[in-house]
Symmetry: C2
Subunit: 195 residues, 2 copies
């Protein structure tokens, strides 16, 4: 598909994409995603307005790319932690902890969503959800978890994770949130009927 040639052209293209993403990060954080325009982003760049559209179709696509970047940055750690888990407690706690710590470390950069209480899931974020579900299914298969409904459980974990992440951004301690979420789900799973 892609030829990763180290040609000059290929390099500049990757660089320009990064330049735009970087400018967007800064512009979105400074004036908010809603107010920002494609022109604002490109103006924070040495590129011309038309060039933007060689890289992204719209402001929304840039935002999704940024979310994708974040999702790709955290997913390997989450997957690794879950695969290595030998107890339910470990499976849940390591995942929650990694996620909350990650969110906290980026709370400045993501000031975007904070102001307007809004959330938008990009493809890579959704892929992360699917990955959690797969890992749950595998964990059920290897006997770590009882045979519960993996899809609903995955959704529930995601819901708890994202909602508590808000609390973490608002000041709740990462350890407290992790402990709470882990205990809640650990206890909950043991009470769930088999699928």
């Amino acid at each position: 598909m892609e030829e990763p040639k180290a040609s000059r052209r290929y390099l500049t293209k990757a660089q320009n994409r990064e330049v735009i993403l970087s400018a967007a990060r800064s512009v979105f954080a400074q004036m908010g995603f809603a107010k920002a325009t494609v022109r604002d982003v490109i103006r924070a760049t040495p590129l011309a307005s038309g060039t933007f559209y060689n890289y992204f179709k719209s402001k929304e696509e840039v935002y999704q790319a940024l979310r994708d970047e974040a999702a790709l940055a955290i997913r390997p750690a989450l997957r690794q932690a879950r695969l290595a888990a030998e107890t339910q407690e470990e499976f849940l706690a390591s995942g929650f902890h990694a996620f909350f710590a990650f969110v906290l470390s980026r709370r400045e950069a993501d000031a975007v969503a904070e102001a307007s209480h809004f959330r938008m899931d990009s493809p890579q974020v959704l892929a992360g959800f699917a990955e959690l579900r797969e890992d749950l299914e595998k964990a059920i298969a290897r006997g770590l978890f009882p045979p519960v409904h993996a899809g609903l459980l995955a959704s529930s974990i995601v819901g708890v994770a994202f909602e508590l992440a808000q609390q973490v951004k608002a000041g709740t301690d990462v350890e407290d949130a992790t402990g709470f979420a882990t205990a809640l789900l650990l206890g909950g799973i043991s009470a769930l009927p088999p699928a």
Copy 2:
């Protein structure tokens, strides 16, 4: 504050507001919230463009008004169900069931969020969250629930409710979702440490 005089002026004002909201519902559903413009909404109305701004500051404010409307439509039922609950199971199940049924009944009207996987909480929605938290605190006070961290539990319930609501919109049976969420939280709460 407001004098609800049945004068012609007041009536027309309320009607116009409804006309705009109704047009917005239809326009957002048809072309999506992101693509829609204030002009698209006002064009679906007999009013002139400038008139829009006598009622709302922006497209976002209209969206929030629609969300507020939905939140106000469901909140009394939720609160009532929770106050009347005499068991933990009842508290959780009645709330989840009412919420999922409500979401399902509106899945057509809310096609907006579906397409772009996005969520935006309006003031009344946030007030609903606060209400849940209050009800939990009251339930703890009257001994229905153990003394857990009400804020974190409320967030968790909200997270599970919203995420499973997506599954309900996607085809999961309301009873199944309700049963799952109730069992999960019922079991989870019993495993929670005291606050």
